[in-house]
Symmetry: none
Subunit: 212 residues, 4 copies
DNA sequence: CATGAATGAGCGTTCATTCAT
DNA sequence: AATGAATGAACGCTCATTCAT
């Protein structure tokens, strides 16, 4: 709920501010984000930030919302609900990879907002974003079970948790590796390493870790 | 490195302070932990906290150390390295469950300290605790592969990530469920639900999610 | 290095703050100067002081710098290096006296900053101000020796020390006398007493204390 | 006015504490002297210091008193009042030098207490010590004038100020030189340099700086 | 009397937010 | 609407002094 003042801004300026906010909230915990830093980076007066937004929390939520939308846009390009989730992972490598590159800060922000204790608004965020996203995932899983794509002898919620956790750590690991190998600013980890890692990951997901 | 003053305190008082610190650092990000809050809760003057510890960071690290030790004590009751990791998960249900009940805050603290972006001391903590813990896990995995307990066609590091993520989310889910069902202070989620959830989780781990 | 915020202030306000700072740092040792006192005196919020300056040390150094400049302005009206130092003392009575009246706090501040053991920044100050000032004095003395104005059978450095000490105590004595006789705020010691004291002082300097 | 508790202490312990206090108050400004530091150095509990003395100020004044007495003892070995002050300076080189070595901290303490702005008790100290000491000096000067040892056409008070200032700076200069040349702890500046400097200084005092 | 833990007032500094222009 | 100065609550930390044993 940014103020009208913000919405009336030229798109270019809006983007500038939005991107700066995303970057800052993505790379520092909430309490270490200094509004005057952000303002300085946007070459905007600190006071202006408060003409655009109600307060810091408002900036934070707006920021999450934008990041979330940008992410969903990538996903909704395909009919997620009616897809074989295993195929999805397997086939969408390239686009996921690109998403992780292009929406790096968005991704990091969402990760922090949803899963770290940093934010003082954890519950609100959960309510607003995470629950629906988990519900959405469970929906997909149920569909996949019904279609016979994945086993149906396990509670879909538990499968969802399992999937969320394993894939989140996986992505995190890849991103960190990429950030370390490069000078943090570029993001040019070899896609081959990534492809290989993901395909091993899919195998684990599908077949489990037990020796056959 | 708490000061001698702290170590000389009556055990009871030491525990009181230690537990209060753990609770606070476990439930709020570092920057929101107010030393005078903690002091008040311990019925101790703010200044006393600084007779016990060098500074806030010292309190934080001490707190993590204690939580870590308490955790390790549970784990080291068995010879972790030389165990079938799948059996381990399956058989240690009860003790894991109890650990999660008794060391609830310790668990949450370690989770925050190791995985959240807050804390200005991420790197130090990684250096001091986390690195060895992931290395340790990979060691176990390699042993399990050699013994033929688990598949050896996948990079043990990736298996480690997979395991860490899936089981972390699982535990988190259970803890949150337990905390919500009750009034946060007690922790009386039915062990049966827990047992059931864990055994399904083990199945997923072992066999994967693909339909046979 | 006050911040731009300070430099942009109305000259009047800048002076108000500068003078308050000089007064406080001139009359109390560094550690007893309370920024909120100063702020209160300027009718400015404590926080504002930190919008103007980096920190307390910054205020202190700024203060010294201003006092030093104000002092130098008085001295540089004449070509100090190429002057008979004895004549200088004798003829400049009036202006010295006025300086001591107008720049009372500046004088006291510099005295404290340069010669007292307080201030955690003694060395920096020495480096920045004092060294050049003693060197400058020795330069003058050498010139006076070369011109035959003063004896040249004594190490110029020692003469410098001698001069510094005797005249510093002299000035200090006069200032204290003046401050005591009045209500500290005004400074109306009779110039005649002052002239007399100074001329006797010059005699001692020139001719020594021995009976002829 | 240390408490009886202190006075009843074994002489050895009393000296230990006294010397530690002198050293600390001599080398740091009042506000930076930390009583627990001093206590630690004496291997005495901090609380004990407060059984010996009323408070920090009490310690400070006791310290000054002792230092002052020790100093006076050196001076009163000769009948100061009835001595030719010029001869005194000239002949007592060696003993002054030794005093400066042995009573280094006492000397530094008195210097700070009397002449720097550091102490919050400046006026009291002036009242208690300095005035009598300056009065004493003026007494000597008057006697010297009456005896025809020094000129009597100048106000004895002014001569006193002159002497105080010039000789204080001189001593300060020598002490600093000595402290710099050595590793601060020993104090072994060559007495020859010292003798030479002092004799030049006496010449200046006696004959002034004017070219004959 | 000695000890050393306990206390709390106080200071420097930060930063979200408001205000005046 | 934009600016950037002004505000003040809040927090980390220190240390003289008191208290309990």
């Amino acid at each position: 709920m940014p103020k009208a003042t913000f919405l009336n801004l030229a798109q270019e300026k809006k983007d500038l501010i939005t991107d700066a906010l995303i970057k800052h909230f993505a790379t520092k915990p909430y309490h270490l984000v200094d509004i005057s830093d952000v303002a300085k980076e946007c070459k905007v007066a600190k006071g202006s930030m408060y003409q655009y937004f109600e307060n810091k929390k408002d900036m934070y939520f707006y920021t999450i919302e934008v990041a979330y939308e940008r992410f969903l846009q990538l996903l909704t390009k395909m009919d997620m609900v009616h897809v074989n989730i295993l195929d999805y992972y397997e086939n969408s490598l390239e686009s996921v990879w690109n998403a992780m590159k292009d929406l790096r800060y968005e991704y990091m922000l969402l990760e922090m907002a949803f899963f770290s204790h940093d934010s003082p608004f954890k519950d609100e965020i959960n309510e607003k974003f995470l629950k629906q996203s988990r519900d959405f995932l469970v929906e997909i899983i149920k569909y996949n079970q019904k279609q016979g794509f994945i086993r149906d002898d396990i509670d879909p919620l538990l499968i969802g948790i399992f999937l969320e956790g394993a894939s989140f750590y996986m992505k995190k690991f890849i991103i960190e590796k990429a950030l370390n190998e490069n000078n943090t600013t570029t993001f040019e980890l070899d896609i081959d390493y990534f492809k290989d890692a993901i395909s091993q990951f899919i195998k684990l997901l599908k077949e489990g870790i037990a020796k056959k």
